[in-house]
């Protein structure tokens, strides 16, 4: 049995359609119009214990709604889910003790007090034994390098520091399942890297099961081997990260350094993305890479060559565009 299981999970909202202007508002008092919004349209997947999985999709694709159903915050319209063998929306204490949801855009610490006070309250609510609490807190503050900041009022911390404190609060009770909703949103590269490292270390030490949504592919590449891609509420890919590139990355980047100036007809092999001095980078269809390389090597003297996969951002963007086009066509 998986640690997280979703079976045909659906969530449909009724959204009020507000008419513009004063007359529209007055009319809305007596007659309201609603639109049905299918936030999640039958999502199924299983995540095994200890897996770290990325949940990707454009804004409004249904990622956060799915996470909210899996954490028990909202009830699904239909379908079923099991997290840690519990039905999440029953919100049993035994379930809530074993998981955490971190939302990058939400704050759960007491704003006017030092984070240490919030951690203490957290200890009481989760009934964490003192020794275990001290050990985990020390481990986490050390991992994130925030030992000296826990006694400073949360409102005085930078966004990155605050996010680190949020992460500590989420991990203090040693959850077995961790749901992360854009944990690095708005952070600089240094803070992002620190949080990635902390999550990686913590995952290696404690074997926690993680489902992560992020718009930063750097997070995904650093942490996850498996990817779920969702768009318009439906799952369009579930498989290894490398598979996404394989399936949706239509081109590879061939980087060449010539002994002399690059030949003039490089455009005939693919899209020429850079031409500077002896350097030339060409985007070539995956199936033609070997053929193109052979042709160039036959005609020119090449000092160095490398073939790279396209950046993940580009591939994911293509996935979303294709899904969008398919949805519009349907």
């Amino acid at each position: 049995m998986g640690m997280i299981e979703a079976r045909n999970l659906r969530k449909t909202y009724r959204a009020v359609q507000k008419q513009t202007g004063l007359v529209g508002s007055l009319r809305g008092l007596f007659h309201r119009e609603y639109r049905e919004v299918k936030a999640v349209a039958g999502v199924s997947f299983t995540i095994e214990p200890g897996e770290m999985v990325a949940f990707l999709g454009p804004n409004g694709a249904g990622k956060t709604t799915t996470l909210k159903m899996l954490s028990g915050l909202i009830h699904p319209t239909s379908g079923d889910a099991r997290v840690l063998d519990h039905v999440p929306w029953k919100r049993e204490d035994s379930f809530r003790r074993q998981f955490s949801l971190v939302m990058g855009q939400k704050n759960q610490l007491w704003w006017d007090l030092p984070a240490a006070d919030s951690f203490q309250l957290h200890r009481e609510i989760y009934s964490i034994p003192r020794a275990e609490y001290d050990e985990t807190l020390s481990e986490l503050t050390d991992l994130l390098g925030v030992e000296k900041l826990t006694k400073q009022a949360v409102r005085e911390l930078s966004l990155g520091e605050r996010m680190k404190m949020e992460l500590i609060a989420a991990l203090l009770h040693r959850p077995r399942v961790l749901l992360l909703d854009e944990p690095t949103i708005g952070l600089d590269v240094v803070a992002q890297t620190k949080i990635q490292r902390c999550l990686k270390d913590y995952h290696a030490r404690r074997g926690v099961t993680v489902l992560l949504t992020s718009h930063y592919m750097r997070d995904v590449e650093a942490l996850c081997e498996r990817v779920l891609v969702i768009n318009h509420g439906a799952l369009i890919y579930d498989g290894p990260l490398a598979g996404v590139i394989e399936r949706f990355g239509e081109t590879k980047l061939v980087k060449l350094r010539f002994e002399g100036p690059p030949p003039d007809d490089l455009e005939s092999f693919g899209e020429l993305v850079r031409r500077e001095g002896p350097f030339a980078d060409i985007k070539v269809e995956r199936a033609r890479v070997a053929m193109v390389l052979a042709a160039i090597l036959e005609r020119s003297v090449v000092a160095d060559v490398s073939v790279e996969e396209p950046p993940l951002e580009e591939v994911i963007s293509r996935v979303f565009e294709e899904a969008e086009a398919a949805h519009d066509a349907a």
Binding site: Y13, T64, L73, D93, K106, D112, L113, L121, A153
Partner: protein
């Protein structure tokens, strides 16, 4: 977890929450002091007003001056206790729903109603409880009251019931925020509650007032919240009224609890 251990855990958490909110209040000392000063002034105005009334009349609706003084103290203490423990929390609920900040509270392994309605203690209202108690003590002294264990126990029980009834009404109105999102009815209700509860129910006499008094005694029992404990202590001990209060308390707590849980099932959580 057995009920005793569970109660002990909740008391520990309440103590921790109380300590946290006190730290927070003390961080904004000026605000705290202004709030306390306003409450002291408010009590002084109320007492001065009743002093003026009793300077011209020996009783109001059958209550003599010390009895009425006790009633005022009882109202002030009870009102202060409710404002201190629940009003801010319940009032903030619609904002939690609107912004989605409720999510963080719902994820904690603890009773949602407890955490939402008790998480912040408004220490600025704590002096009201002491001042109200002081006024009650002064009234008892003026009437040369002798300690009566039965009356005292009945007073404490009905006082607690009064707090519970007011809390249940608050929870009922607060729960509506899940659907309404913007909900100002709580403060309106609290104004109505304060206005009705601060007078003896005997003032509702006459052709139009009597049905109104009956309505707010038996249908929406706001009038019994202060009247019954004050009556029990300094006037007639009416067992039927005490029993009615106990039944009303149990029923309202149960109804408000069911309604709150039903409302949470409809919670949509704001978009992130």
């Amino acid at each position: 977890m057995n009920p005793l251990a569970r109660s002990a855990r909740y008391l520990r958490i309440l103590r921790a929450l109380a300590a946290h909110t006190l730290s927070r209040e003390l961080a904004f000392r000026g605000n705290f002091l202004v709030k306390v000063s306003v409450e002291v002034l408010w009590l002084a105005i109320m007492l001065a007003f009743y002093k003026v009334v009793f300077a011209r009349s020996s009783n109001v609706a059958g209550w003599n001056e010390p009895q009425y003084l006790f009633f005022v103290g009882c109202f002030f203490a009870l009102n202060g206790l409710i404002e201190m423990l629940f009003l801010d929390n319940c009032n903030e609920f619609s904002e939690l729903v609107r912004t989605g900040d409720l999510d963080a509270l719902l994820l904690k392994p603890i009773d949602e109603q407890f955490l939402i309605t008790c998480r912040r203690i408004d220490w600025g209202c704590a002096p009201n409880v002491f001042m109200g108690s002081g006024v009650m003590a002064m009234a008892l002294y003026q009437m040369s009251w002798r300690f009566d264990p039965v009356k005292s126990a009945a007073f404490l029980a009905t006082f607690a019931c009064g707090v519970a009834i007011a809390y249940a009404f608050m929870v009922l109105l607060t729960s509506l925020s899940v659907w309404m999102v913007r909900n100002q009815s709580l403060m309106e209700m609290w104004w109505l509650f304060s206005s009705l509860a601060r007078y003896p129910k005997e003032i509702f006499s006459g052709r139009w007032a009597e049905p109104l008094g009956m309505f707010f005694t038996y249908f929406i029992p706001i009038l019994i919240v202060v009247n019954v404990p004050a009556n029990v202590m300094v006037r007639a001990f009416d067992p039927a009224m005490v029993l009615m209060m106990l039944v009303a308390t149990a029923a309202l707590l149960w109804i408000s609890r069911r309604f709150f849980l039903f409302a949470l099932e409809s919670y949509r959580s704001a978009s992130s």
